[in-house]
Symmetry: C2
């Protein structure tokens, strides 16, 4: 008789990391219970030996699951989609390409440029660079492109149809960052409306940085 | 009797764009013939009405295929993998997660930060920012992480086993950029050896920027 040892799913994350936030929403949407291990990026814990052994890139998130240690938020979400039939991607190849393109428009073009270490580097170089100026410039550029891509697809409750998927998992943290850096969202009515709908889902609201941040 | 109209595959690209370079290698590896439409990023053609209609993000590449207009290089490559059985990803979910993590370590963490528009913005802000300084800092950081991730996986001719895949398609243009900006590759022997093997494949060498750049 098989009596499998139940293995904990462990997410190494930081409360404010966009990419960790994506994975929290994904795990919640599937309904997979997981334990969080906080990696304090501000204190530099991601450069500690413990964390570097888990991820030589020195980034969060890292997900321990099925005896594996997975890195890169979108690779993690694709893995969950394949192994837990999460439905983060539609069934048809054209739809999958569209959802991935939307997700990557944020995850590849926008968020990495607004990564803390990138913005800090720009500011450290001096000149007129400020954290807020850097963030606002690139977040607005990214949201503008995303809004345009949304307009090319079918209407729906969420980014692609009526079920939240990979693009939505990327959109929520990006809009949180826009809010944090006081980016005016009024030029982006489509993505704003989608994000309001997403925020009403428990799986999304329970993953919010304010819900998981450490007590002061 | 079905006699399908054969539709041209059209790649809108720029000779020096890393993400277009990825797609050229991918199409070559599969052996799909395609026609190139050059979008001159330096002259700003990506912000022209024609190109914005194809891609509201104002980026290359765009691939016309199967009656679709696909954007985002990795979404395009995943589409080709799904519809042309290209073998860019291994069959097992753990292997797929590893290859995607490697690909994303470049395509999400490194290349977007070294995008021309990002580096130019940093330089325009003044201070000590220079194009070369910006590129070298972030390319070295990205390659360091990639080298570490390579060390965690099985040995092989390429990034994951003995067949070139999604991670290799990302690595080649990144190493080209490292060479272009005079980044010392000696701290990264694993990825350097893999890249040398890749460069010996006709599908890779024929996609090289020097092979497709417009005549002066």
């Amino acid at each position: 008789m098989g009596c499998g040892m139940r293995q904990d799913i462990v997410l190494h994350d930081y409360w404010r990391s966009s990419s960790a936030y994506r994975v929290r929403i994904g795990l919640n949407l599937i309904g997979l219970p997981y334990r969080r291990v906080a990696v304090d990026l501000v204190a530099g814990a991601q450069r500690g030996a413990d964390h570097l052994a888990a991820n030589p890139q020195g980034l969060v998130p890292v997900l321990e699951i099925d005896g594996l240690r997975l890195t890169q938020s979108l690779a993690i979400l694709e893995y969950l989609d394949e192994t837990r039939l999460a439905g983060f991607l539609p069934a048809d190849a054209a739809g999958r390409a569209r959802v991935r393109a939307l997700a990557h428009a944020i995850a590849m073009e926008t968020q990495p440029v607004c990564n803390l270490r990138v913005a800090r580097h720009a500011v450290a170089l001096g000149g007129e660079a400020t954290m807020e100026g850097w963030m606002r410039h690139f977040i607005a550029l990214g949201l503008e492109g995303f809004e345009g891509l949304l307009g090319q697809g079918p209407e729906g409750q969420f980014c692609h149809g009526d079920r939240p998927g990979l693009a939505d998992l990327c959109l929520v943290p990006q809009v949180y960052n826009a809010w944090r850096w006081h980016v005016d969202l009024s030029p982006y009515p489509r993505l704003s409306a989608i994000c309001e709908r997403l925020d009403r889902l428990a799986a999304v609201s329970e993953a919010h940085p304010d819900r998981v941040k450490p007590l002061a």
